[in-house]
């Protein structure tokens, strides 16, 4: 019992110390709570394929009700902001100055052709510098034209054959969907980075400041050192996780269809795996700068490239696919996608959760073995 009392005393000391440090040194708070939100914000908006309020110049050489009606369609659309100009030259000038992203030219024979049953051409000029954006704008413009055309057909204004031949498929309507897919994945990436950085950086900091040496010469047990780092940074890391999930649901309006308890349990496993990996790194790294570099290269980049979130894994060689199985984020991305978009689908959650549990156990066990109370390995 005496022994246990001493253990409790030691744990109290080390946990109090870590909490004071976390509360007073803004760097760990910034790392665990601010960085995820900032990254989520940047990536969340950065990766969206949505285009809103695209400025577009409209040159109407034909002033019929039909053409005005078409222009109104563009004006009413959320996707475009119409800038009326008188001549094509004016529009081209604006395009060259990047004040508009495209020009819609309705030629003077528009009504005539439309009424004569011929195809009425509408010229669309788009700034092609950013190919992706070009296609998005093109898609929206065609969608509006297509819609307008089909309304006219349904009203019987036009005969079916006379409509502007347009591919009516709405290419980029999944833009909203893509965010639902991206954000849970981003949470995984961000939590990988914070989890690894938290443990590897704080231990490297203790080496740099010479406090680790003093710690090692106290009767601290190796298990005390391990728990002393995992417990506080698990709590901090989960705080960041909770914040990110809240942010995803409230700000990005990503649906969450699973249960919070399941998310908490499974993300705990994931967090422990990341923290354990960071601990493992810190066994050999005694410099904060190196710790940050190694964390990014060995933890974050594999999570970006080898989880199929941004780059499709199916098209990679077999070897890469096998390596990707070693990345914890690989499993947690499946879990978070499932929980956010589908719900508690146990056939997906269980196997992935088990792998994560095994991984966190292995990382922490190896880290424990690697922790030494000596200065040399």
């Amino acid at each position: 019992m005496m022994k246990f009392g001493l253990f409790i005393l030691r744990m109290r000391g080390i946990l109090l110390k870590e909490s004071f440090q976390i509360l007073r040194d803004p760097s760990s708070i910034a790392l665990a709570l601010v960085m995820p939100i900032v990254l989520l914000f940047i990536f969340g908006y950065g990766v969206t394929l949505d285009a809103n309020d695209v400025p577009i110049a409209v040159v109407a050489d034909d002033h019929s009700t039909q053409s005005t009606d078409l222009i109104k369609r563009f004006e009413l659309s959320e996707n475009f902001t119409v800038v009326p100009v008188l001549t094509t030259a004016q529009g081209e000038q604006l395009l060259a100055e990047s004040k508009v992203d495209g020009i819609i030219h309705i030629q003077d024979n528009f009504t005539e052709k439309l009424q004569s049953g011929n195809t009425a051409p509408v010229q669309l000029i788009i700034n092609g510098v950013d190919a992706n954006r070009t296609r998005v704008i093109q898609g929206y413009a065609q969608a509006i034209l297509g819609e307008w055309s089909s309304i006219r057909i349904s009203r019987g204004d036009d005969t079916a054959s006379s409509a502007v031949t347009i591919n009516q498929r709405v290419w980029f309507n999944e833009a909203v969907e893509s965010r639902n897919f991206m954000v849970p994945g981003l949470i995984t990436l961000i939590m990988t980075l914070t989890g690894i950085l938290l443990t590897s950086l704080v231990i490297a900091r203790e080496w740099e400041r010479g406090t680790m040496e003093a710690m090692l010469v106290t009767p601290l047990r190796r298990i005390d050192i391990l728990l002393g780092k995992i417990i506080p940074y698990y709590i901090l890391g989960m705080g960041g996780m909770g914040l990110s999930v809240g942010f995803a649901i409230v700000v990005f309006k990503v649906p969450f269809r699973g249960s919070i308890t399941v998310l908490f349990l499974l993300s705990s496993l994931f967090m422990l795996a990341s923290l354990g990996f960071g601990l493992l790194l810190s066994a050999t790294i005694r410099n904060q700068f190196v710790a940050a570099q190694i964390s990014i290269i060995t933890g974050f980049l594999p999570a970006v490239f080898l989880t199929g979130l941004i780059f499709d894994l199916e098209s990679t060689p077999q070897a890469i696919q096998i390596i990707s199985l070693l990345v914890p984020a690989h499993y947690f991305i499946s879990i978070s996608h499932t929980l956010f978009m589908a719900g508690d689908i146990w056939s997906v959650l269980l196997p992935n959760g088990l792998v994560l549990a095994a991984m966190s156990l292995i990382f922490i066990a190896v880290a424990y073995k690697k922790i030494t109370k000596r200065l040399e390995g």
Binding site: L9, R10, R12, G13, E213, A214, V217, T218, R374, L375
Partner: protein
């Protein structure tokens, strides 16, 4: 060492020996598979109730030895018993019985004084009931009662060191290990720390093992073990060491013909002299062998040679194999004079210099001037404003107000031109660690705009002058401390500046490198180079022609070393050292009137 074997009551080996090391070897294997033999078969014992000093210069193995005793490192071979326990098998048990203060004190910057103490109390398992009394006692002892709520990061160097000590003492250890506890701490704080340690030994009878490179501290230990390159050179009481130096230590006074510095340079190269220093305005020499009539050796009857009491430092320097101090300045040849102009010419003139950071005056109303060929010292504790003053002198930091003229240029107007005339050696030596010695020199030479041919000549000069030839392809980061210092100095001198600014050039280098450094500086000054230097080693102030002591941005005193020492002259202490004078000035025990008088007398050289 007088063993107490005869008084059987007191002597009982197992309890009394707190550290017992037998034939200890330690090897380190580096990344490039090179093996360093850090300790060669060390055997020693340390006793309870004593302060045992491990004395040696860099690379002696002091830190390695202490770390092995704490269990931080494992012995390569040999046995180490701490309090009767084996350092490898019973590490945890040993760690619950000892107190250890590492070189960086091991404090958490973000935790307050009391929180740091509470942390170590928790880790050491101090029962909560005993704590209040214990904290109170340690805080009183270290004089930190007023600062309990202050964060460790905001404490001064001396206070941090005392808090580190309090944390190491939290569980009344049977053995206290201190690894260079006073490095970088001002003399006042050093003195306080030692008072605490000796009281502990006297009252509680604990054993203390301390490593130090300060010879005056070694002299106050009960038992001294002199280490050099991993081997024990000698051990015994400081008196044992000093006894050997009988008839080997003399002082030589300056004469009408020769200034102290000239005699110093001359005697340093004399074949019978192993060590030369300037102390209390005289040249102090240590002879190779005992000689009752030293004056005969020098074949110069004008010299006033007087025998003096040897110190521990004399004994220690005489003991080190000669290879460690081999600098031979090439005499003072008139044709070596680099700079033109006359000796009395004022090259640095500072008037009403002021530097404010917000409301805080880092430097307040500073006035002084330096003449050509002078060695001028800027002294003061940490935070005195030395570095700020220095940066302003070099044009690295703009002054808030006042005039700075360096080498005839006003620094407000012609900073670049003034800079080409001055050489600057920063505190951390600012070398490129990955570049070789030659590449570093080439870079600095080019940065100063030397032509290819001229640069080549100067690099050859640097190799010869600083003995860097054999190191030229070695990366600067891999050089030993003393050589880093040489390289940094060579880089600062490549463009043949008239004025050399040296910021803490001797911190982090050992005794011998320091000796050599001052010999070299001396010979540059003889060649007409003006030298401005900051240091926190008070005894080094003796090498300066004049100096300025500052504290908290204010000028405390300015004058020659003799002037400053005279200030601290009292009835009890008729011959104060520079340390005494500094402490008296810092504590304000010297009256303001004597300071004002001093200012008038010696500050008026402008």
């Amino acid at each position: 060492m007088i063993n107490s074997k005869h008084s059987t009551e007191e002597y009982s080996p197992p309890q009394n020996v707190i550290l017992d090391i037998c034939d200890l070897h330690k090897y380190f294997v580096g990344k490039d598979k090179t093996t360093t033999h850090a300790l060669h078969g060390i055997s020693l014992q340390a006793l309870r109730g004593q302060v045992t000093g491990l004395v040696g210069v860099d690379g002696a193995g002091k830190t390695t030895l202490i770390r092995i005793a704490t269990g931080l490192l494992l012995p390569s071979s040999g046995s180490v018993k701490v309090l009767g326990l084996d350092s490898v098998a019973d590490t945890l048990e040993i760690q619950s019985l000892i107190g250890y203060m590492p070189q960086k004190f091991g404090l958490y910057q973000d935790l307050t004084v009391v929180e740091n103490m509470a942390l170590y109390a928790d880790l050491q398992g101090v029962p909560p009931k005993e704590r209040a009394e214990k904290y109170a006692r340690l805080l009183t002892m270290t004089d930190l009662q007023k600062y309990t709520k202050r964060r460790a990061g905001a404490l001064s160097g001396g206070m941090k060191q005392k808090l580190g000590l309090a944390c190491a003492l939290i569980k009344s250890p049977a053995l206290l290990l201190l690894d260079e506890p006073t490095v970088g701490v001002d003399p006042v704080s050093r003195r306080e720390l030692w008072k605490i340690v000796y009281e502990l030994v006297k009252k509680e009878g604990i054993g203390v093992i301390v490593s130090t490179a300060y010879m005056d501290e070694a002299e106050r230990c009960d038992h001294v073990i002199a280490l050099h390159q991993g081997e024990i050179l000698a051990e015994g009481t400081p008196q044992d060491f000093i006894k050997r130096m009988h008839d080997r230590v003399y002082t030589v006074s300056p004469t009408a013909d020769d200034k102290v510095r000239q005699i110093y340079t001359r005697l340093a190269t004399h074949q019978n002299v192993v060590d030369t220093t300037i102390r209390a305005g005289k040249v102090r020499i240590v002879l190779k062998t005992s000689n009752q009539n030293a004056a005969v050796l020098f074949e110069d009857d004008r010299l006033q040679v007087q025998p003096v009491e040897p110190s521990f430092e004399d004994a220690f320097t005489a003991m080190i194999p000669a290879a460690a101090h081999d600098f031979q300045p090439d005499g003072i040849k008139p044709e070596n004079r680099q700079a033109s102009g006359t000796e009395s010419e004022v090259v640095i003139d500072i008037r009403k210099l002021q530097k404010n950071f917000g409301h805080f005056a880092a430097v307040n109303n500073l006035n002084f001037s330096v003449r050509r060929g002078e060695i001028f010292g800027l002294l003061g504790p940490n935070g005195a404003g030395k570095s700020t003053t220095f940066r302003m002198l070099c044009g690295l930091l703009p002054a808030s107000s006042g005039d700075i003229s360096v080498a005839g240029y006003n620094l407000h107007r012609s900073r670049a031109r003034a800079r080409s005339r001055l050489g600057y050696m920063a505190q951390q030596f600012s070398l490129y660690g990955q570049l070789s010695v030659r590449e570093n020199l080439r870079f600095f030479g080019k940065a100063y705009g030397l032509s290819a041919k001229h640069l080549h000549q100067r690099i050859e000069w640097a190799y010869a002058e600083f003995g860097l030839e054999e190191w030229q392809n070695k990366a600067a980061g891999m050089l030993p401390g003393g050589y880093k210092q040489r390289l940094a100095m060579a880089a600062a001198l490549l463009h043949e500046p008239e004025i050399l600014f040296l910021d803490e050039p001797t911190s982090g280098v050992d005794l011998f490198a320091r000796r050599e450094f001052w010999l070299r500086i001396n010979s540059f000054a003889e060649q007409g180079v003006t030298v401005v230097v900051t240091t926190h080693f008070m005894e080094e102030a003796e090498y300066c022609d004049r100096m300025l002591i500052m504290s908290q941005g204010e000028t405390l005193a300015i004058g020659t070393p003799t002037d400053i020492r005279t200030l601290a002259c009292t009835a009890e202490n008729p011959q104060p050292t520079m340390d005494d004078a500094f402490i008296a000035l810092a504590e304000g025990t010297i009256s303001t009137s004597s300071m004002a008088q001093n200012q008038r007398q010696f500050g008026g050289a402008r």
